[in-house]
């Protein structure tokens, strides 16, 4: 089965400056190859307040009959894409870095982006922090570019592979603050006894979106639109466009 080569994303808006962050210097992975998977297979590359095992099980249950693989590391994402996945569910910046056009876009409050925040000890406003922790969305250079664009300032970036690891950067004083979706801030506070302040980042980040990578992926796009509200909520999404 031949793989569909998505056209390069062309609808670049102000916010997709963020969606495109990190694309520079990265070789698009979506090159013509023979898709190996017979059944539709979905790769999920999202960092939520749950382990990848739990995320995979939740989506496997909601998308019965579709092979779901949730990964946390950028290297694992690259391997999964190269092995012939039918579709990819990830944040907009990740899709853009791969040159993949979103087929289904997540919305919350009628918008396709969400606010991000810095969370840390004292003085967490942009311009005051020097070392910022972030999930390694796009590899070393791509993630640094992503963080710089969201914060509109250059900082040293400490990368981790999971959302939960970010709290450890604060606990061990390996970062002044961490960058995360604003909706996650209360969850982080709940997990920690540290005194934490937050401030909103200047730029927003695209919500999760699905890119179809092979014709089989169209089935996944249709099915994703019908997943239960509770699952969408876990993904940080209220509806799909």
């Amino acid at each position: 089965m031949a793989r569909t080569i998505p056209e390069k994303t062309t609808n670049i808006s102000r916010r997709t400056v963020l969606a495109g962050a990190g694309a520079a210097g990265l070789t698009p992975l979506l090159e013509p190859s023979i898709a190996l998977a017979a059944a539709p297979s979905l790769v999920v590359y999202l960092h939520l307040d749950m382990k990848q095992r739990a995320l995979q099980e939740m989506l496997s249950s909601a998308l019965d009959g579709i092979e779901v693989t949730a990964v946390a590391r950028y290297g694992d994402l690259q391997r999964q894409i190269a092995s012939g996945a039918s579709a990819l569910l990830a944040l907009g910046p990740v899709l853009a870095s791969l040159g993949a056009r979103p087929t289904v876009t997540g919305l919350a409050g009628g918008r396709d982006t969400e606010p991000y925040a810095l969370l840390g000890g004292m003085r967490v406003s942009t311009g005051q922090v020097q070392r910022v922790g972030a999930v390694d969305l796009l590899g070393r250079k791509g993630t640094s570019t992503f963080v710089h664009e969201v914060l509109q300032t250059n900082v040293e970036v400490e990368r981790v592979t999971k959302l939960e690891d970010m709290l450890r950067l604060l606990q061990f004083e390996m970062a002044d603050a961490i960058l995360l979706p604003q909706r996650i801030v209360p969850l982080m506070r709940k997990k920690s006894e540290l005194t934490l302040e937050s401030s909103r980042a200047p730029n927003e980040v695209s919500l999760p979106a699905l890119a179809v990578l092979t014709p089989a992926g169209n089935t996944i796009a249709d099915r994703l639109k019908k997943i239960p509200t509770s699952v969408k909520s876990e993904l940080g999404v209220e509806s799909w466009r």
Binding site: D49, M50, K51, Q52, R53, A54, A72, R73, Y74, G75, D76, D136, R140, E158, R159, V160, T161, K162, E164, D165, L167, R168, L169, Q171, F172, M174, K191, S192, E193, L194
Partner: protein, 340 residues
């Protein structure tokens, strides 16, 4: 298999420090391909990785390659416990790496012997990983930095609080005198999250009675909400597990036991409630980030420090946990593997 035999097997794996993952020599061809050097790029610096060949070390290597492979040539030499200082010296002379990654205790020991044998030689910086209680020993290796292999108490019990409904504010630990410094540092770190780490020391060669008494003190007199089981072979002999640790929860108030090896959480015997151990792929990525910091500093160690492993994996003995403790509604979304 009798209980003692099963425990002996699990503990044998623990004593390797790389539990349950040694590879057979049968897939030598596969190993050869896995360890094949990349084509050297003339304008790229090289990093030499010395590692035993196990499932876990391979996962770490994969993380290192993912992290630095585009910019640095990662050269790997699988080694065994008999690695000699002379062998390392020959590798350094041949490959001229800007940095050396040392995995596991015997590798570190051989590297240190080489440094001692060649006191006037300047060695490339070393990043040590997967070595036991590294914070206690890393200063013995000149020009070294690294990542500890033990998950800090702070990390363990902050995470445990997301799994259990009951409070996790006082945590007990039994330790031998050699571990006192380590426990003191862990106690200070744990305070950051309002966790009180209560230690009870036992003799260097503790009897069943010593360990039993220490555990009972922690549970009854000190009111520990959970117990942290160190990866210390001296406290985890089959006899001590079977006659001191395991009987603890047969009577009285039950306390969760948090262990540091997945092999100690089993449906076949009632020992560890939870295991929390480093995520090896993420550990490799963390090593890669340290290597990049060294490269940025012209291959010198400007901030000698041992980092904690930032990313962990959690295993739960679900049958035991559900029977003895109240789990948070989202508890199972916070664990990587369920043993049932």
């Amino acid at each position: 298999m009798a209980l003692t035999s099963r425990l002996g097997f699990c503990l044998g794996l623990l004593s390797l420090g790389l539990a349950a993952c040694s590879r057979s020599s049968g897939d030598a061809r596969h190993a050869e391909a896995f360890f094949q050097d990349p084509v050297r790029r003339p304008d790229h610096d090289a990093v030499l990785v010395l590692m035993p060949d196990t499932e876990h070390t391979r996962a770490v290597l994969l993380g290192i390659r993912d992290e630095v492979g585009d910019e640095l040539d990662v050269l790997v030499r699988p080694v065994d416990r008999d690695l000699s200082a002379e062998e390392i010296e020959a590798m350094l002379a041949e490959l001229q790496p800007r940095c050396v990654v040392l995995m596991d205790n015997p590798t570190v020991k051989a590297y240190r012997e080489l440094q001692l044998a060649r006191p006037s030689v300047t060695f490339p910086p070393a990043v040590v990983v997967m070595a036991s209680f590294l914070e206690e020993h890393y200063r013995l290796v000149k020009n070294a930095t690294g990542i500890a292999y033990e998950v800090p108490a702070l990390t363990l019990f902050t995470h445990l609080r997301t799994i259990l409904v009951s409070p996790v504010e006082k945590v007990g630990v039994v330790y031998r005198p050699a571990f006192r410094g380590y426990i003191d540092r862990q106690r200070e770190l744990a305070k950051r999250e309002a966790i009180e780490l209560i230690g009870v020391a036992v003799p260097q060669h503790p009897s069943v009675r010593d360990v039993r008494r220490a555990l009972e003190t922690l549970r009854t007199e000190r009111g520990a909400h959970a117990l942290w089981v160190l990866n210390d072979n001296g406290l985890l002999t089959p006899e001590l597990i079977q006659r001191a640790w395991m009987p603890l929860n047969e009577t009285g108030r039950r306390v969760p036991l948090v262990v540091g090896a997945a092999s100690l959480v089993s449906a076949k015997f009632d020992f560890g409630t939870f295991a929390m151990l480093p995520d090896h792929g993420a550990l490799g990525m963390q090593v890669g980030a340290l290597i990049f910091k060294l490269a940025d500093d012209d291959w010198t160690i400007t901030r000698p420090e041992i980092q904690p492993p930032l990313s962990t994996k959690t295993v739960i003995n679900l049958r035991q946990a559900e029977r003895d403790f109240k789990l948070a509604p989202t508890a199972l979304s916070q664990v990587d593997r369920i043993v049932n």
